[in-house]
Amino acid sequence: MYAIPILLLSRLHHYALDARRKNRTTRYFLWSAVAALSATIVLTVAALFVYVLCYAGLWFLALAVIAVLAVPLAGPLAIRHVLVPRGAFRLAYYLGWASRPGRDPTAYGLVVAAWAVAVRPSGRGEAWVASQRDRRIPLGDAEVIATALLAAARGDAMTARSLARSSLLLVENHPSVRELAGEWLAVDAAERGAWSELADDASAARWPASPLTFFLEGVAARRVGAPNAPSERELWARWLVAPKRAATRELRDTATPPPAPAPRVRDADDEAADDGVDAEATGAVALDERAPLPRAIAAHLAFGTGVRTEETLRATVRAWDAALTDGATHAWLARRAIELEAPLGAVDRALREVSAVVSDELGRLADAEELGAPASHGPVGDSLGRRLRHGRLDALEAGFTRWAARRHDAEIRSAIDEWREFIALRDAYTAAVTAGGLELRRLAFPHAYATGTAMAAWLWNARDEYALAHAIFRWLLDEALVVGDSEAIELGTRNCRLAVPTRSD
């Protein structure tokens, strides 16, 4: 019963912050006013109750009531500032359990225990947290986030990032747990300098914001020049409320908006663009006076040794296609073939050989960077497109087939392993279809749909992993809507309508 006002206050606080992050000022003030009013009422009633108990001589009961009311407020502070820095995972677990009233206090306890292990990694701590996690069936957001923090404890930040973000797919939602995941992601993004990523999370209000997250989001918004970026004074206010102020002072002082872009002087590239010529202004691939073949080789070398992006790949492929279809290149080859007394067909063979060598090298580099097939039609563009599409499609199908085969294995894997497999496949699918476009997406979807649906149904029916299965159904439905598969849309809609039993408040 006493949980209701605490949960209400927590929710109101989050609503106010989310409205602020989404730049809805009126709602922000409204939610803040409601939260303040509710807090005043709750505290007044509590104080009155304590006063009445003292007045009646029941001071021991009054002390007990004060203790019960203080734990949800003081517990998280003690966890953050005392237990987590000392790696006291067991105490953090039990205090977390005690300080989060509601239907599922264990979820918060599990995640703060994993946080303590992340700060003071130990094999014993990891095994203990993993055993607590595996006891909880079915899988939910707390289990996934705890696993993410255990991965962070091992120094595997990439896995931790991927797993923490994957919890957004799960229908089970513990706000106190997600708040911690959001804070870990915000700190991680700030360390990497991924300010755009953080500003994007903030504007979409993907995670409930803790005071530290709220401050870092303000820094990110100012750094990227977001329209709802806080003023300097507001950033100061956020900084004052956030913990670890000594460590974040520098971030506060350096969070200056980016300079406005200076007006550009028209140059040769602009004039070339006006004439309909593709100005390949990407590093060393700048438009120059060289013949097509030297330009292509220079672009290729710049791509191999410099920054590899979709743009530099496209510029390189276009340069090669232009060079290998250029009349001057053919004429030079034909003349030299005659002078060297090369065998008949040497010119075509040489062009094919160069095209194959270049496509292989660019394909290897594009695969390593997960770059998409560039839209360039020519000997290199076509060959590279085929190679990237077919290679990725084969790899995807093999991955989904292996996943589906798990149903028939005698060994039952833990739910978190099934989730990690699904997330890995989903990431591979997303990377492949982003690179390969809608054409590859339509080719890849049927196999992903068939295996994904079978796996999700098995997880739901045989393993009681409702949230996990629902996340797969949801993802498949989203993909079906993109590719326009009416049968998959119908089945996916029916599956997603199934009521999912969760432990959320």
Binding site: V187, D188, G193, A337, L340
Partner: protein
Amino acid sequence: MSAFGSALDENPFYVLGLSPDASRIELEREAQKLLGMLELGFAGATTYATPLGPRTRTPELVRAAVAALRDPYRRLVAELWARHAPPATLESTPTAAPAEATQPGLRRRLGWSP
């Protein structure tokens, strides 16, 4: 090494240190000279310039280069690369440095990692 890397790194003209205009006799003479120098251990003969930076020259590479240039088709392909590539250099090609964290150690300072 990839085929593209070989086309430039082990291009016979770079291995022999000659221009693509070199005649057959010049190629044979240079190959003999280089083989002699390598056998005597001359330090200047052990590296050669490519557009990707300096590479190590070995007697096997020199023999393979001169054999390739005796074949008209393989010489045509080698010329195609050597004649149109950027100038060979003995300086190493700089590669893109990995992006550094802008706030190294921030996770630790904010209480999220050891």
